[in-house]
């Protein structure tokens, strides 16, 4: 938008001219996702996950609205409305529900890849700090919404998940318990909690959509980053969003949706937990309570604090778990390296992949039943997680020698062809 060579919108049809003078919506779309938005030409496929996240948000909203037409938000009726009415009696209700259930998981898969892409290519660095922070706000809203959505079928994991997660607040001294009771509308999850979770679960996706608009708006001021991290210098470095990136997003989204469809149709319960097909029972605690897979790393951090060291272990766990996400807001100031892309940061790159492995280990520990070995592994991995972001990253950015950057994006894209040509 701020590029001088971005093609201005010039409506040709009189109707479009008429509309443009009164309500310039076509101009907005043209500048946001049309030929008016120049995009670095060297984007790799990791850059497709932003659009894909939008695709999944849409799938979730559409399937969710129809599911809400059939869902009954009462403690007595919720389980049956999902497992009999929707799954058996509503036409294609099973499809809507499985698509929504797995859509949530795939939304998280896409968003996690999007976030790790940002971490590797330094997308949080100036001038895109706000893009990064708004993205984190979306992620937090997604987590809240996914949690509340998981409570709605009112199965055993729904109920005990609600019990555990709202229990986080009771870790705080004095104010904790009143906050928990206020959130739940009672001393334990029940009708009041279920109805408000349903109400908020319907509201938050639209809040997410609004923050997505801010996220894209903030992105369009400096324009998209790129794998070299070098700023766009002139027209040669860019291609218009449409038709180039719409075409690239088009085929990539279609093939990613194929994977989503295969899971939804052939292994719809693979990512879920069997216990949630047992109706909620406040008197029977499941043998091991686990959240959905996308919360496993954080759950591992929570459970890793097993020692009442000055503060109670539970308070340590809750503080650490919240910190593990909130620290990402400070990344632009923790990693001061002027080089954005991990490709040109040899030391950073190694630590980045260590961190990825570390998060995967945390995920494994968070999802598996507790054992002495896994607890120790989780504690080590959780300690490394904090050391990576809060200690190693600032130090690396201070001391590492980065590799020379290419002079421009077009040089980096077209250079390799040149050497191949001369070598051949």
């Amino acid at each position: 938008m701020s590029f001088s060579w971005a093609k201005p919108y010039e409506p040709k049809h009189p109707a479009m001219k008429w509309l443009d003078q009164r309500l310039p919506i076509p101009r907005l779309v043209y500048g946001a996702t049309g030929p008016g938005y120049p995009v670095p030409r060297n984007l790799n496929y990791f850059w497709n996950f932003g659009v894909l996240a939008g695709v999944f948000l849409t799938i979730q909203i559409v399937t969710g609205i129809v599911l809400a037409m059939h869902y009954v938000s009462t403690a007595d009726g919720a389980f049956n409305s999902v497992n009999q009415l929707i799954m058996r009696d509503v036409n294609a209700g099973w499809l809507l529900r499985y698509a929504h259930m797995n859509g949530a998981s795939f939304f998280f898969i896409v968003v996690y890849i999007h976030i790790f892409r940002g971490l590797y290519y330094g997308s949080y660095k100036p001038p895109r700090e706000l893009v990064w922070m708004l993205g984190l706000v979306i992620y937090l809203l997604m987590m809240a919404n996914a949690f509340m959505g998981y409570v709605l079928p009112w199965g055993q994991m729904s109920y005990w998940g609600a019990q555990v997660i709202t229990g986080f607040f009771s870790a705080f001294p004095l104010i904790g318990e009143p906050i928990r009771v206020w959130l739940l509308g009672g001393y334990a999850p029940d009708q009041a909690a279920l109805t408000r979770f349903f109400s908020l679960h319907y509201l938050l996706p639209f809040v997410i959509a609004a923050v997505v608009i801010l996220h894209i708006w903030a992105l369009h001021i400096p324009g998209s980053g790129n794998p070299t991290g070098v700023d766009v210098k002139d027209e040669k470095d860019t291609l218009p969003f449409h038709p180039y990136f719409t075409a690239k997003d088009g085929w990539f989204s279609a093939s990613f949706l194929l994977i989503y469809a295969l899971v939804t149709f052939y292994a719809p319960n693979y990512l879920g937990h069997p216990d949630n097909y047992i109706p909620a029972n406040p008197l029977a605690t499941p043998a091991h309570i686990v959240p959905e897979w996308y919360f496993w790393p954080f759950y591992a951090i929570l459970r890793s604090f097993t020692l009442d060291f000055i503060l109670p272990a539970k308070l340590w766990g809750v503080l650490a778990m919240f910190s593990s996400i909130l620290l990402l807001f400070f990344l632009p100031w923790l990693d001061k390296s002027p080089v954005r892309s991990g490709t040109y940061r040899p030391l950073f790159k190694r630590f980045f992949w260590l961190m990825v492995i570390d998060v995967l280990i945390l995920g494994y520990v968070g999802g598996a039943p507790i054992s002495a070995f896994r607890t120790a592994l989780g504690q080590f991995a959780a300690a490394y997680y904090f050391l990576h972001f809060l200690v190693i990253l600032p130090l690396v950015s201070k001391f590492e020698t980065t590799l020379p950057l290419p002079n421009s994006i077009s040089e980096s894209v077209l250079g390799e062809r040149g050497t191949m040509a001369t070598a051949g």
């Binding site: 030409r41 049956n80 497992n83 009999q84 799954m87 058996r88 099973w94 040669k236 291609l239 180039y244 075409a247 088009g250 085929w251 093939s255 949706l257 194929l258 469809a261 295969l262 149709f265 052939y266 719809p268 319960n269 069997p274 097909y277 047992i278 109706p279 043998a287 604090f305 097993t306 020692l307 060291f309 650490a320 910190s323 620290l327 400070f330 100031w333 923790l334 490709t343 040109y344 607890t375 120790a376 504690q379 080590f380 300690a383 904090f386 050391l387 809060l390 200690v391 600032p394 590799l403 020379p404 290419p406 002079n407 077009s410 980096s412 894209v413 077209l414 390799e416 040149g418 050497t419």
Partner: protein, 309 residues
């Protein structure tokens, strides 16, 4: 300033975690936890092959009908099937008249539906209609517990989805009851006395804590006389009822498999078309602009060093 605070926060969290780890390790080695009987003697479900397995799986209607018969004659004495309606039995190959007869004849399905006496308003029961859900054997959970030594027989509608292992687990459980006194685990170890079943409990190595309240339901060959003449061995009955319970949990399975194939073929076709469009659009864009230096940063560094020399 941000970095100083971050440093401290990072070191504090990591420090507390490492202290917890060391203290745990110390307790583990000084006071190692005793192995649990449930871990030592618990068995993973046996393999079970059903026609509904796999992406092209379809139900075997004859088997589902046999499974329904086992449920009707054996399981329904204690277990409800609340989420399934009699009308759903159409999927098992019965016609409307047969379903009506099954639900309301009192010959096959003996349990009646709670109702109200239209003259007095008193609680009463009536024969089930095809539009009714399967009525449970007990009026409520308290009655169910009272009749079963305080154990609640779970509803079976979703049982193959609500248990790890699904149908294979149900099949293993039904055929897995053994004598705790002669049972040996894979290591040849006999069951310790304190892990043996308490009164009214029954030993079954496929059950998570080894002892369950349900007595062996399928005990003798020929307990059910199959209408289609299939020999009713315990193994056969267990298989049939497990297959039936896959259907009760996922009546959508066949439609889902068929729709999935159509969607996958469509998306594959769409992806290929969209990929060709992408290639055509990008054809020219990939070869424009000046040709200068290589992309790989390390190669770049090398060429630059060579140039400065």
């Amino acid at each position: 300033m941000v970095r100083v605070i971050a440093f401290l926060v990072g070191l504090v969290f990591a420090g507390v975690l490492l202290i917890s780890m060391i203290s745990n390790a110390a307790t583990y080695f000084t006071n190692p936890p005793a192995p649990l009987a449930a871990d030592e003697f618990h068995k993973e479900p046996k393999a079970l092959q059903l026609s509904s397995d796999g992406p092209f799986g379809k139900f075997d209607q004859a088997q589902l009908q046999r499974g329904l018969q086992v449920y009707t004659e054996v399981c329904s004495a204690c277990h409800s099937l609340k989420l399934v309606a009699f009308r759903d039995l159409k999927a098992l190959g019965y016609n409307d008249a047969e379903i009506k007869a099954y639900a309301g004849s009192g010959k096959q399905w003996k349990i009646e539906v709670p109702s109200i006496n239209p003259d007095t308003g008193e609680a009463a029961t009536r024969k089930a209609l095809p539009s009714d859900n399967f009525p449970g054997p007990f009026a409520n959970d308290t009655a169910a517990r009272a009749a079963n030594n305080n154990a609640l027989p779970p509803d079976l509608s979703l049982i193959t989805k609500s248990r790890e292992g699904g149908a294979a687990y149900i099949y293993s459980l039904l055929t897995g009851f053994t004598d705790p006194n002669t049972y040996r685990n894979e290591a040849g170890k006999a069951l310790p006395a304190d892990a043996k079943p308490a009164p009214n409990l029954h030993f079954n190595p496929y059950f998570a804590n080894l002892n369950l309240a349900m007595p062996p339901p399928l005990t003798t060959n020929g307990q059910v006389t199959y209408a289609d003449g299939t020999p009713a061995t315990v193994d056969q009955m267990a298989k049939d009822v497990s297959a039936f319970l896959v259907w009760t949990a996922q009546p959508d399975l066949e439609r889902r498999h068929a729709a999935g194939l159509a969607v996958a073929v469509f998306l594959l076709f769409a992806s290929v078309l969209a990929f060709l469009a992408y290639q055509q659009i990008w054809h020219d864009a990939k070869g424009k602009g000046p040709v200068t230096v290589p992309t790989k940063p390390k190669v770049q560094a090398r060429t630059r060093r060579a140039k400065t020399k």
